[in-house]
Symmetry: C2
Subunit: 482 residues, 2 copies
Amino acid sequence: MDTGRRLRAGALLRLFGNWKPGRRDIASSIQGHITQLVCDGRLPFGTHLPSERDLARELGVSRTTVAAVYDRLRASGHVETRQGAGSCVARGPADTSEVATPWYPVGTHAEIDLTQAALPAPTELFADLLARAAPAASRYGEGHGYYLYGLPELRAAIARRYTDRGVPTTASQILITTGAQNALALSLAATLRPGSRVLVEHPTYPNALAAIRRFGGNCVPVDLEPAGWDCERWREAVREARPDLIYCVPECHNPTGLTMPEDCRARLVDIARLAGAALVVDETLTDLTLDEPSPAPLSRFAREGMLLLSIGSLSKVFWGGLRVGWMRGPEAFIARAAAVKATLDMATPVLEQILACYVLAELDAIVAPRRAQLRANRAALMDILATSMPSWQTATPTGGISAWVRLSAPVATRLSEVSRKCGVVITPGPLFGIDGSFEDYIRLPLTLTNEMLPEAMRRLVHAWATVRDTRAVEPPTLVATV
Amino acid sequence: MDTGRRLRAGALLRLFGNWKPGRRDIASSIQGHITQLVCDGRLPFGTHLPSERDLARELGVSRTTVAAVYDRLRASGHVETRQGAGSCVARGPADTSEVATPWYPVGTHAEIDLTQAALPAPTELFADLLARAAPAASRYGEGHGYYLYGLPELRAAIARRYTDRGVPTTASQILITTGAQNALALSLAATLRPGSRVLVEHPTYPNALAAIRRFGGNCVPVDLEPAGWDCERWREAVREARPDLIYCVPECHNPTGLTMPEDCRARLVDIARLAGAALVVDETLTDLTLDEPSPAPLSRFAREGMLLLSIGSLSKVFWGGLRVGWMRGPEAFIARAAAVKATLDMATPVLEQILACYVLAELDAIVAPRRAQLRANRAALMDILATSMPSWQTATPTGGISAWVRLSAPVATRLSEVSRKCGVVITPGPLFGIDGSFEDYIRLPLTLTNEMLPEAMRRLVHAWATVRDTRAVEPPTLVATV
């Protein structure tokens, strides 16, 4: 499958982090790196790989070694080669583990998955809300079922939540979307042109970067480290890049867990306004602040004549499988985004939206125990990190579902590759950055409870020791996750 | 709201159909035409309208008249004007009718809506299936809820349906999407580049045209009239246009209701293959053939080395509010489309997919009574058209949910404008075409039962008489729809 994206050998090597050919089994090491890059999405399906000759030269290894690597990658299904067309990234072996246990997706993997920063649904409440939503669903079934803007009662309920947060909002300013990602995609599709520059926090949410690129934008990173949002830096970045759009995650930022201070908010809005840039504010995690309540939303500072879009969803506060999100914006823009939505998926499912109405009505009761659980998980994670990995540095996240962990060496890609062999899957930092940044970071989720956390850390520590010692990997005995 | 699309006066006039300034109330006539074009989507939100001077000159009316029209359109909310930036299409007045009756979207409008070719859900069965799906939903709630490719059991069930139709298929060749529109969008996003040429049947489904344009494609029409698919014409069109993709609806084509003959199918696939063009086959309506069973699916004729994608959904056979569709294609392409999906909406909702599993298990039982009802509706529509509008010509649709009605004069846009005032909303032909074609067609749905059909036709006949006589419109007494 040819996406037309051709990767040069030098660019591939940069994605390897600080890889150097060791003495033992170089082919396996190269194969592991490439497999990892395919699995975590940094080498998208269809990417043209460099020729064997070029890659061999760049890596400083023999062509025979690279040929062997490509052979193995073909055998594992991660690469396909066509006569005359070179080698492309393929999907990898079919994900048969999913199929093995119908109706029951959790607990079937021997691997502990630390890549999903997502909580399960509150299952009893879920069943209860579903039962309550069913009669309304049947009544809606008497109609045609297409609601381009969303169900009126859901739009109104979300507008009320904004109003309650101090941002007077009418239902006509709300567009219901199929999750927050859909809201982001619509925001981008309705504003960007090919070559538009988009300012993003650096690091930031990987699927935001992918969506910006999908709609023709060029991501311009503004560093968050070490002190969070530096308004002067943003002002300069705007002056230099003259962006069409600024994307920010001001609460419980993913992956850092930072929350933008109150005094920065009005200033950032002002910077966007003066630059004539649209400002897309991702509030997906706003309800999951763990210490202080959220500061005033950025939309409080919006002024006439600027385009400020807030996006949110129930995926993080209720359940990722409930794909209901929204966009809040000027009514005329909402109409424009809806016209885009008609081309992408026509409308968000009705049943989901009815359920979302019931979830919203109970949201405070849903959020309170989740916060308590995340606080406990956070404490446990920070404790175990301090004890077992004292050389790593982690600022305590102020909210959200993840911690941004700084390693004591820039080996995140290699660590994630070795971790997988040790039975724990982690997300390496460069996924959250541009051009291979954050090789000294990994993201860990706050979703593991005390039961699972020790085993996950045991495996991670083992992987770390392996990476530091660059010894061969001896996988520990696997314990099935429950 | 500025989409950057600027419409010249001449182009706007072409969209008016065969409009000529009459003697009475020219401003109202122009206003009505523009409102209609905004309402049916041919003037998308954000389109820049021509200046008053240019439009006045093109229409052959005074500038004062056009100024009055723009004033009224601003007052009605269909146009907004900014100092120095000219006039743009706005959304129009907020759709408050939706909000009036929470939880019960049907039967609240005094207008009879003939624009939605969609049936209600089989409501009793819907409630039953929902109750049966609930326990599985709760179990899934224990997991993270993200299934980029779709639930394994749904993928397997859809693969089985293809296999049963004579196209051996594995679950790994299926991507679950948020309705067929989502499947189409993913197909296009993963194949088109800016300027790609896409061959389409002419007329065709309006949202397909919009999606092709959204992803940078140029639509190249291949006429279906008068005799359906003419393979020689397709071969020539491919030779001339050298398209990257061909989009076709071979069963129960929307809007014509035509079904592609058996002998044409292998040939069309061959034409696509030889041209190296991807072939996207929209089978959304395949299960709703009303006379003969569907011929062999086009995918039966696919050969190694070509990209043939089939898309389908449950929206038409079960309910539009259930937004579950799919794409069938080569496994490597499915992976590529899934990577696009991650940027557009992450995943299709889990609850919808579980319900879809139950719907699929009952599909034959669901489809049989729907077909019977559509056959009865079709007979009633053809009868009443023959009786009350003998000058119109309608080929009996072989399936699907709509009839393509040829008027005896090219006045579809005007007729749709007047119809609205008479209490019945219809879709004018040009919505299904490129560059203002099909001004002598309207689409009528097969969804009206004997109860509603006579009243809908009474209003339509009245509108027709008004258009033909170019007399002032006297709205008939409205009867609330039930």
